[in-house]
Structures are given as structure tokens and as C-alpha cells.
């Protein structure tokens, strides 16, 4: 990686944005978490395991994960209608699929575990920040999980493979690839590519994503230990 390439916001190619994480930020939810990555801000609540209505949607063998990824109308450059877009439906599905890999679902038959994500501010990488917050919120809810999932996007921007794209980079990027992993199991639970890469570039990018996820996982674990963490002394207050 050409370490001399400097990104629009001054970061190095393999540098994460400032991260802030907190758990237990909501009172009513069974578990909750707040994550900031750069200007991207996400809050997540988890309810469950709880009885699922209507009952014919429940499974006699395992809990059902329901997930809603939703953007606040004021989170985007142009106001977003609160009605779910096709993008929000797709992201809800891939996040749900990722979370389903880590939860011991078979322990809670006939129930649902409901994960509600609200993107409060969107400056790139919202699905990855959401997954990071979901992991924390599941842990905060005391729901047994195999591993803390960690996620980050990598991409190709001006020919360079870079980590953790913000919105400005994302819009100009040749490729954007969000990745989520369960580090202790070496498992990839979310992988999407939006853009064009050669096989070689793909390998380079994927390796960088794994490194980024490891770094984020470390911060998640510290957050759970301290119940609150602020990296790099940002002035912004948490939500």
C-alpha cells in the first residue's frame, strides 16, 4: 500500500476514522449501543428473545432474527422519506443474515430477537457501523453470541485500496466492499462488492478489511469492558 497517498480527510489508506462506542444508551430496550465512525452515527436497540406475533411466523426450532435498518430523515444530504427504500430493505436483510450467524438461535425456539437500527447521520459505512453497534447491543442485552461481529468497508479510490470510506470517498470510488467477520472463528458473515476490482485488487482489499475488522473488534471489546469508550478525544458528545 502506497503509504504516501493521503486521503481527502488527511487519513492514510489503511487508517480508520475516529471511533466512538457506547453500550446501554437506552433505558427501555433489552440492549442498546451507539457507534460513531467519523460523522456516521448509528444507534441500535435489541428486544428479545420475546414471543413472536403472529405465531405462524415463529419457528419451533430456533429464534427468528428480525432486523430493521432505517435512516432518519435528517441523516442524509437530501431529506430521506421515512418510508423504507429498497436499499434499506436489502441492508436489513444482509445485516440480519450476518447477525443470525453469531446468535445461539437454537436456544430460544418460538421467539424473535428484534434488532432495530437507526442511522442518525450517514457519512459512509453505515451498514458496517450498524453491525458493530448490533454486536454490542446483543452483548448488552445478554443474548448469548458465538463472537462479537466486526465490520468495516474497504474500497478502491483513485486507484488506491483504502479502508473505511467516508461518503465523499464512496461517491467517487471505483469500488466499495463492506466486510463483516467473526474474528475468533475466522468467519466472513457479510461480504458485498459494489464496484469493479481485479482478482488481485480484491485480495489486497479483503486483507485490509480483515485487518480493519480486527482493530474494530479490539475497540468493541474494550467498550464492553468499560461500558463506555471514546477514542481520540473527540469533542462531540455521545447520543
Amino acid at each position: 500500500m502506497s503509504s504516501e497517498f493521503v486521503r481527502p480527510d488527511g487519513r492514510l489508506p489503511d487508517q480508520l476514522r475516529p471511533i466512538k462506542m457506547a453500550v446501554g444508551v437506552l433505558d427501555r430496550a433489552d440492549g442498546s449501543a451507539y457507534v460513531e465512525q467519523g460523522n456516521t452515527k448509528v444507534i441500535v436497540a435489541v428486544y428479545g428473545p420475546r414471543e413472536l406475533h403472529p405465531r405462524h411466523k415463529a419457528s419451533p426450532e430456533a429464534a427468528v432474527v428480525r432486523c430493521r435498518y432505517h435512516m432518519a430523515p435528517f441523516s442524509t444530504r437530501e431529506r430521506k422519506s421515512p418510508n423504507p427504500s429498497r436499499r434499506e430493505v436489502e441492508l436489513s436483510k444482509v445485516i440480519k443474515d450476518a447477525l443470525s450467524q453469531t446468535i445461539f438461535l437454537e436456544r430460544f425456539p418460538r421467539t424473535s430477537i428484534d434488532v432495530f437500527i437507526e442511522v442518525l447521520e450517514a457519512d459512509g459505512g453505515t451498514r458496517c457501523a450498524s453491525i458493530n453497534a448490533c454486536s454490542l447491543a446483543l452483548a448488552n442485552a445478554g443474548i448469548p453470541i458465538r463472537d462479537l461481529i466486526s465490520a468495516v468497508a474497504v474500497g478502491k479510490y483513485n486507484g488506491h485500496i483504502i479502508l473505511d470510506l467516508n461518503d465523499e470517498e464512496d461517491e467517487a470510488a471505483e469500488a466499495d466492499m463492506p466486510v463483516a467477520i467473526m474474528p475468533s472463528f475466522n468467519k466472513v458473515v457479510l461480504l458485498q462488492l459494489n464496484g469493479v476490482l481485479t482478482e488481485e485488487e480484491f485480495k489486497q482489499a479483503f486483507d485490509l478489511a480483515v485487518k480493519g475488522c480486527m482493530e474494530i473488534n479490539r475497540i468493541q471489546r474494550e467498550t464492553l469492558r468499560s461500558r463506555y469508550l471514546s477514542i481520540k478525544g473527540e469533542e462531540n458528545e455521545d447520543v
Partner: protein, 273 residues
Amino acid sequence: MKTFRVVSQLVRSRIISMLKEGSRIDDRGLLDYRPIDVKCGLISRANGSAQVSIGSTKVLAGVKVGIGEPFSDVPDQGVLAVNAELVPLASPAFEPGPPDETAIELARVIDRTLRETKTIDLKSLCIEPGRRVFVVFLDIYVLDHDGNFIDASALASILALLNTRIRKFSIDEGELRYEEEYVPLPVLHTPVTITLAKPDDGPFIVDPNLEEELSLDNRVCISVDELGRICAIQKLDGSLSVDEVFEVVSIACKTAPKLIEIVRRESGLDAGS
């Protein structure tokens, strides 16, 4: 939404019997609010934003200003569009989906409070009469519901509007020109909302928390501005006697200045802030 009472009969009885003796389960005075916490400008992509906590009830309001068409009956005025979402994060009783009757009632009470007081100078937000005006989208997000989200929403709304900055603009022969500078939205008033509740046989309280809300059958909210004008009323649950109607209005008028002071302080309207 509140058809199932999540509060037990025991808690309910205790809340009511304590109230009759003049005390509340969280030791507040009958006419005291829980601690109020305010954060303005959290959302940098919004034109304005404010998050208000009353106890653990938490509401985030965001303002986006766009361009759209005026209403045909007021072609020379900007548009205020208020929307409220009771997002399912906030309570096990809230479900995903379009706003239900409770969310719509919330949005409409806030909307009336702002509209009837002419809190925003909509006339100054006209670009081309009958064709293009600025549209002020106020989106209210209830994030944590421990009772009384209406008052928290009213506070977050006025604070988000006071926090709003738009590009300075001029209209030059029908052409809209922006300048570099950002200016505040023209906000002329600072109305607040006070919610009161009471058991069928007992005194009024303000700012019911969730257990109180679920235990007390009668509830009403009243908006009052800094001029002492009553600018919205909505009976929410139950009923009031004719005399009680005068009592709630009187309590609201006495309580409003305390909330308005918070608004003025947090928004920097008061020099001493």
C-alpha cells in the same frame, strides 16, 4: 398501542395512593419535571438538530430545509412539515411501520403549537410566490419512551429550529442566489408544551413518567409561548371536570416559563448563557 397496561395493579395502586398524599414514586414534587438534558447540533448533516432527555425519555429532532411548492391557499409562504416517528427502539409497544394514530397526534400537536403562534416567519421563506418556497422539514424521533414524549418532543423541536442555520439567500429578479454565510432560521417565538395527568380522584402532576402515564387515567397537554399565550390544547386520555380544565390551564401557564428558560439558555437566546 397502550391497550395492554404493562404496569402491574400493585404499582398502579401505590402510585395513586402516594399521589393522594401528595408524593410521587420518584420523590418529585407534583409540579416538578424530571431532570432535563439538552444537546444541540449533534447531527452535522441536518440544518438543525437537538436532543432532549427528560429523565430517561429521549427525543431527537432534526430539521432539513429544502425547496418545494407552497400550499395553494398561502402561495407566498414557506412550508412547515412536521413528522413524528415512534421508532421501535424506544419501546416494546412501538412497532415498525408508518406512523400510527399516537405518532400522528404527536406530530399534529407540535405542528399546531408552532403554526398557530407563527413561530417560524414563513413569509420570509418564499422564493417565488405560488411556485417555489423553502420547506422546513421537522422530523421528531422518539428514541426512548419513559413517559411524556410530547413535552420532550416540543422542547427538542423548538431547540432544533433555533439551532437551524440556512445559507443566506437573496432573490434577484426571481433568481435565488445563495451567499457563503449561514444565517439562523427566522424563529420568532419559543412555545413549549406541558403535559399533566391525574388519577380519577387525586391531584394533577406534570411530566408523568411511563409508570405514572400508565397508572393515571386522565391526561392533557397544553402549549404556552413566551407571551403567556395558550397555543394548543389536547385532551389525551380520560376526562376532566369543568373546573379541572381551568386548573390545568393555570398550572400550564405557571409552568411554561421554567421550560422556556431552558430553551432560551440552551439555544443561546439569553446573553448570560
